[in-house]
């Protein structure tokens, strides 16, 4: 019975992530349109796009071009298995947050490899920006993760969620500053404005995605949807106390809506400005938080 449940979880949780992620993509476009006083596409437009893209012809530049995109999507799918989704966490006992930190590498590296083979100058610029941005937000992010692990004395994300259920959300605990810092870097992790310089459509023709067409673009979109889901789900799990599936999804929706508002109201940073910002306020706040945690422990 346990194994059946487990297998069910393994199948269900990526599906949930996929559905929610794609729904978010649709919602994103709809909300942006409404903010800009447009009508906007229907909510299921991303699904329509995906179906169409899957049946179109795609251009390829070689083996690594294919392999990279597959690797990145597979990485994103595996990552979902490590994240508790309303009580489901198929790979709870396989290394915890540390492994999550690492599995998060797959998506950008896979995309970068694939794009590198594409040899379009726009891709090179996009990758360079993307990797620098990642390094930039990773500094405060690591401080945040370390504060969490050192406050809860575990590297298991399931344990952290459980602990919040017993007491209160991390956001309303001594980890408050960490939560704030996480929220400050959330746009960078999601790749939305003001941090969308890696995929700036008007400037470098969507950067990494520029050579993708057909199923490649579809894969890239799915990967994008999954990573939206993952970043927000992590925030909800780590700071907003998780909860059962409907509560969990509601919390995610709330965070996502905030993200869309941020996206809608900011212009784009240049990459240096982004790095400067990320290495300043979020880093300082998360660093103070880490020190506070060390002091009260």
């Amino acid at each position: 019975m346990v194994t059946v449940m487990k297998i069910l979880e393994i199948i269900v949780s990526p599906l949930v992530a996929l559905i929610v992620g794609i729904f978010f993509l649709g919602l994103f476009r709809k909300m942006m349109a409404r903010i800009q006083w447009r009508y906007g596409p229907p909510l299921i437009q991303p699904v329509i796009d995906l179906v169409r893209l899957f049946n179109q012809r795609g251009f390829s530049h070689g083996a690594v071009f294919d392999l990279g995109i597959i690797l990145s999507l597979a990485g994103a799918l595996v990552l979902v298995l490590f994240i508790p989704i309303g009580g489901m966490c198929p790979l709870a006992n396989s290394g915890g947050l540390l492994v999550i930190l690492y599995v998060m590498l797959f998506a950008p590296i896979g995309i970068a490899l694939s794009g590198g083979e594409g040899a379009n100058p726009n891709i090179s610029i996009g990758i360079s920006r993307k990797l620098i941005l990642t390094l930039s937000y990773e500094v405060p992010f690591i401080f945040i993760i370390l504060s969490l692990m050192s406050y809860y004395q575990t590297i298991s994300i399931v344990e952290i969620v459980k602990a919040q259920a017993h007491y209160h959300w991390s956001l309303f605990s001594p980890l408050f500053l960490s939560g704030v810092a996480y929220f400050m870097i959330l746009p960078a992790m999601l790749g939305i404005r003001p941090f969308d310089m890696a995929s700036a459509p008007q400037e470098i023709s969507s950067g990494i995605d520029v050579e993708y067409g057909g199923k490649y673009l579809a894969f890239s979109q799915i990967e994008h949807a999954l990573s939206l889901f993952i970043v927000i789900a992590l925030f909800v799990n780590l700071f907003l106390g998780g909860g059962n599936l409907p509560v969990f999804l509601l919390k995610m929706l709330a965070v996502f809506v905030c993200g869309v508002f941020i996206h809608a109201s900011f212009p784009r940073f240049r990459i240096e400005q982004a790095t400067k910002y990320l290495w300043f306020w979020p880093t300082i706040i998360s660093f103070i938080s880490l020190i506070v945690i060390q002091l009260i422990r």
């Binding site: 070689g62 690797l71 396989s94 492994v99 970068a112 040899a119 100058p121 990797l131 050579e211 199923k215």
Partner: protein
């Protein structure tokens, strides 16, 4: 007997190779490979043996060889890398000058390193250590030009280190009357804290130089980048690890964990871990800014050494296991990367990252090797580097060192950036026109690539194989046995289970692959077709590998200069001008010379009569 025969074959083989080389080069190549392979087999056979043999005596001190799990572990790593490097050299060194000499020094250095890990007392340890140092010096200087400066830097720093070690060893001898490592271990518990600290600092300097710990790392980047590539592999993956072996020896085999943790009231460990953390951060960012592939890898070696020392210096069993495992993994992937870059240099004649690109179609096997190597280096799950780094992080977090853990994690992200730069600038992007006719790496180079890549992936999926041995080593050093199975490590505070990750990945890959296959067709087109619309574009201008991380450089460059190197250069300059001044004491004027004599005499007289000094 087995240990002696290993060393005899190693040293004898080195000289025999040289002599044979004078007669026939084909025979020499064959012999070099034969000796390396047979040594690998011999060492492999010695697995699990423990023992101690006094084989000679020197200045009334017995010279002892000993083998145990620890030395076997290091010996097999050394010999494997040398063997692969020798095989690689077959084509790499063809037609170069002084090939006999090259093989002699390569094998001599190898023998000396084997001697270091197999020696059971400090005299033989020191003797082998010095032989290793000078033979490596001769090989680092081999490439002439800039290599000369690199060699000088290396040898001067390593002499300083070994002088520190000599004082330490002799001090141990004069205090305990023996230099046998086992006997010193039994006696050292009686030592006073200050004495132990004194000895530890001396050895820290000695081993720190060799393993390129942060403030004394400056010899490494030039030495590793200027040496012949197969020897760079040896240098980077095993020679600097002799420093690691030394650290394990002095911290755990001699002192033992309890004494080490109490050293100087715990401050010694604190400083060591701090140095290790700095060793991760600064070199990582320095690596990011390099345009020479080998120099990039050299800086990366320093950073990885930081991880290893961090793991070792924490002083818990998990950390030591992580450190030792990371040592082993670094041996595998850094050897692989240096050899691969060597193959690229061999085929294209350059290792400048700004003038390469698009070689994936020309050298696919080398690409896979570099991919495996960098994945291991980053620590992507399912490569061996992941497991060891996971162990190190976990140790740091469980023992409440969040700031050290931060250094380690940020180092990893830096690693991603420079690793990707390495892959992208060599293999991806556009192929420069002058490299259109690049041939793939020859078979003798591919063999080491394949073996090392398999090792990286195999031990990434089945980390239990080496971890079991390392567990035995840490147990022999007085730690508790950990619960290790073939898939990973089972512990209360969060286990690691590679099989789950592996299975998940396999399934995810298959699923995605399946969708990839059933969905719409793909058309393979030339790289220029889509963005240049098939028009012939000047490739030089569209090749975006130059200054790949330029926005970042502009920000960090002022902060990540190699200040230590500049400091040492100033020091050397000051010393040189001082020496010039001292030399001018001998001015050539006879009158002055006579005054020296008279002055000397009168100072002696005055000091006695006037000042009554003695």
């Amino acid at each position: 007997m087995l240990i002696q025969s290993i060393l005899i074959i190693a040293f004898g083989g080195a000289f025999l190779t040289y002599i044979l080389g004078k007669a026939s080069s084909a025979l020499r190549d064959f012999l070099a490979v034969l000796i390396s392979v047979s040594l690998t087999v011999l060492i492999f056979l010695a697995y699990g043996k423990t023992g101690e043999i006094a084989f000679a005596s020197f200045m009334n001190l017995p010279l002892v060889l000993r083998i145990n799990h620890l030395s076997w572990f290091f010996a097999i790593a050394i010999q494997t890398v040398t063997t692969l490097s020798v095989i690689f050299s077959l084509s790499y060194m063809k037609g170069k000058e002084r090939v006999d000499f090259y093989y002699l020094m390569m094998l001599l250095c190898n023998s000396a390193m084997l001697g270091i890990v197999l020696s059971g007392d400090f005299v033989s340890f020191y003797i082998f250590w010095e032989i290793m140092s000078w033979s490596a010096f001769l090989l680092i200087s081999y490439n002439r030009g800039g290599a000369l400066y690199a060699g000088m830097k290396y040898i001067v720093m390593s002499i300083i280190g070994s002088m520190c070690m000599l004082i330490g060893i002799m001090s141990l001898y004069s205090t305990y009357g023996t230099l046998n490592i086992r006997e010193i271990h039994d006696l050292i518990s009686t030592a006073s804290g200050e004495y132990l600290l004194f000895i530890s600092i001396l050895f820290l300097a000695a081993f720190g130089v060799k393993s390129a710990l942060w403030p004394i790392h400056v010899w490494l980047p030039p030495a590793h980048s200027e040496a012949p590539s197969p020897f760079s592999a040896v240098l980077s993956s095993i020679l600097i690890k002799m420093g690691i072996y030394g650290f394990v020896l002095i911290l755990y085999v001699i002192s033992g964990a309890a004494l080490y943790l109490g050293l100087g009231g715990g401050s010694f460990r604190y400083i060591l871990t701090l140095l290790a953390a700095i060793t991760i951060i600064i070199p990582t960012f320095n690596a990011l800014m390099q345009d020479d592939a080998k120099r990039l890898l050299a800086w990366s070696s320093i950073a990885q050494i930081g991880y290893i020392i961090l793991g070792i210096s924490i002083g818990t069993s998990l950390g030591l296991i992580g450190g030792l495992f990371h040592f082993f993994n670094h041996v595998a992937f850094k050897a692989l990367l240096f050899l691969a870059v060597g193959a690229i240099e061999y085929r294209t004649g350059t290792r400048d990252l700004n003038s390469l690109g698009g070689l994936i179609k020309k050298m696919p096997v080398t690409f896979i090797a570099v991919l495996a190597g960098t994945f291991g280096l980053i620590g992507i799950p399912l490569t061996n580097g992941f497991v060891s780094k996971w162990l190190i992080y976990k140790t740091l977090i469980l023992n409440n060192h969040p700031f050290l853990a931060f250094a380690a994690l940020v180092g990893t992200w830096g690693t991603i950036l420079y690793s990707y730069k390495l892959i992208h600038n060599i293999f991806l992007g556009q192929l420069p026109e002058n490299l259109e006719h690049t041939k793939p790496a020859p078979a003798s180079m591919k063999l080491p690539f394949i073996i090392l890549s398999v090792v990286i992936v195999l031990f990434g999926i089945l980390p239990g194989i080496p971890l079991k041995l390392i567990n035995l080593i840490t147990a022999s050093l007085g730690f508790d046995l950990l619960n290790i199975n073939i898939w990973g490590i089972a512990s209360e505070s969060g286990p690691l289970n590679i099989i789950n990750i592996f299975a998940a990945f396999a399934v995810a890959l298959i699923v995605v692959w399946f969708f990839f296959l059933i969905s719409g067709k793909k058309v393979v087109i030339s790289q220029d077709n889509s963005y240049a619309a098939g028009i012939d574009v000047p490739k030089g201008k569209y090749h975006y590998t130059v200054d790949f991380y330029n926005p970042m450089f502009r920000m960090i460059k002022p902060y990540f200069r190699d200040y230590m190197d500049e400091f040492y250069s100033q020091l050397v300059k000051a010393l040189a001008s001082l020496s010039d001044r001292v030399r001018r004491l001998y001015c050539g004027d006879l009158g002055v010379y006579v005054i020296y004599i008279v002055l000397f005499l009168s100072i002696l007289v005055i000091s006695k009569i006037g000042l009554n000094l003695w």
